[in-house]
């Protein structure tokens, strides 16, 4: 087949579309669905800027972080996917988003959406994650601007907020 009809659930919304089989999930979300909060960067699974969360019941949190440039949209039929626009709840930013803003962890912003998605994943698994665990979890996300210091501080702060809420 050259085209496939699929349904994607992105940030709780249902999208039933026909995709080119050679399009990545990243391309379909950005260019076909015009959800450009998701970024396209290296296209090779090296930078993590395109990180999304995809449902997977083998994982403790029910979802896993993947590089959206590394999967075919045609193979994601029926999947529930979260991008950064799906983090806010009723106009209130997610603790990770708030912490990134407060701590100055965003410079050019290009890595930020992927960095935030992966940070959410780390903290959902362990809101009390210490620096070494945070840095290990973020190994797949590259930042050219910040030197990571403020990013790690932001994740720690967000972790404290999320742990307190539990």
């Amino acid at each position: 087949m050259k085209k496939r009809s699929i349904t994607l659930y992105i940030n709780g919304e249902e999208y039933s579309i026909s995709v080119d089989v050679s399009d990545t999930l990243n391309h379909v979300i950005r260019n076909q669905l015009n959800l450009t909060d998701l970024k396209h960067c290296c296209g090779r699974g090296e930078c993590g800027a395109c990180t999304v969360l995809v449902e997977d019941d083998r994982y403790p949190t029910g979802r896993k972080s993947i590089d959206s440039c590394m999967v075919l949209a045609a193979m994601m039929d029926g999947k529930r996917i979260t991008t950064v626009a799906g983090l806010e709840k009723k106009g209130k930013l997610h603790p990770v988003q708030e912490a990134f803003v407060e701590k100055g962890a965003i410079q050019c912003g290009f890595c930020s959406t992927g960095m935030i998605m992966k940070s959410v994943d780390i903290l959902e698994n362990n809101p009390k994650a210490k620096e070494a665990e945070i840095r290990a979890g973020l190994e797949g996300n590259i930042c050219r601007c910040t030197g990571y210091t403020k990013i790690v501080e932001a994740v720690k702060q967000a972790g404290e907020v999320m742990a307190a809420k539990k």
Binding site: M1, K2, R4, V21, S22, D23, T24, N26, H27, R30, N31, H40, G43, R44, G45, E46, G48, T51, D56, R58, K64, S65, I66, D67, C69, M70, V71, L72, A74, M75, K118, A136, G137, E139, G140
Partner: protein
């Protein structure tokens, strides 16, 4: 015009069962490439290293992501089992430590959530971390076609750079690793610039130990030859020997003569040759300390 349209055109085949996939492999042969986790194939498609007009994607087949272990049968890893799954498996960490260590450093956390161990072996990169660990552990790959099933030891699987013991009509369905004994110790180590990068050199050992005496050894290295390599001279030196500083020094001196590294973007032949012996020494020490 969008630059996130990064793949060439192809026809997608999405079988719902292994039998269907095998029939497709028979029908399309070398006109089809097989896609599992995608973390290698997607990049090869972009680069033009894979030009197949057909892609057989295994992702819709249920039940291929198993990892099973028993003391009698050993370890079986299904075609869609990911590196992440291996890192979560305490039996693998204990009994097949080298594989657990190799899977733990594969790529990045996101890559590990998608990349399959079988796919890593089929890619047969000479610097492949899981290939190195699995060669030391004595693993075999199970290849299925319409003609039946072949179980190929990794000793016979990596034939030359870019050449594996697989015909286009076969699909790799499983990796098998023999049962580990109480006396089995294994370890894996790599040298790299940063975690994401491919290994400059890597090494894995699987030892049968009686106290400080090694009764048998399998040693594998990567990125020092056109394929992942067994270092048989070092294995002979270890077999029946007591592991002490003298033996370790002899090993470190002997290994550089057994490897055939080249210069490439990641390292030089000289560097690889120089560190190869030290890396094998350290990985033997790590296995013995386990």
């Amino acid at each position: 015009m969008s630059n996130s349209r990064i793949l060439p055109e192809f026809e997608l085949l999405a079988p719902k069962s292994l039998d269907e996939a095998i029939d497709m492999a028979a029908q399309y042969g070398d006109r089809a490439a097989v896609l599992a986790g995608g973390t290698d194939v997607m990049i090869m498609l972009q680069k033009g290293a894979i030009k197949s007009p057909y892609i057989i994607a295994l992702g819709d087949i249920a039940g291929l992501d198993y990892i099973t272990y028993s003391k009698g049968e050993g370890l079986r890893i299904g075609a869609l089992a990911t590196a992440w799954q291996v890192t979560q498996d305490s039996k693998i960490k204990k009994n097949y430590t080298a594989l657990w260590q190799a899977a733990s450093t594969l790529g990045s956390p996101q890559i590990r959530n998608a990349a399959t161990i079988v796919g890593n072996v089929l890619r047969a990169s000479p610097s492949g971390d899981c290939s190195c660990a699995l060669l030391a552990l004595g693993a075999s790959v199970v290849l299925k076609s319409t003609a039946g099933e072949r179980v190929v030891s990794l000793d016979e699987f990596f034939i030359d750079y870019g050449t594996i013991n697989r015909t286009a009509s076969e699909i790799a369905v499983e990796l098998r690793v023999p049962p580990a004994a109480e006396s089995t110790r294994s370890a894996f180590m790599r040298m790299t610039r940063m975690n994401f990068d491919l290994s400059k050199v890597n090494a894995a050992v699987c030892l049968e130990m009686k106290g400080r005496k090694c009764t048998s050894a399998r040693i594998a290295m990567g990125a020092v030859a056109p394929t992942t390599l067994r270092i048989k001279k070092a294995e002979t030196m270890l077999a029946g020997a007591t592991v002490n500083d003298t033996l370790l020094a002899e090993l470190a001196a002997a290994v550089p003569r057994q490897v055939k590294p080249i210069d490439d973007v990641r390292s030089t032949a000289e560097y690889r040759r120089t560190v190869s012996g030290i890396l094998v020494k350290r990985v033997v020490q790590a296995a013995c300390a386990a």
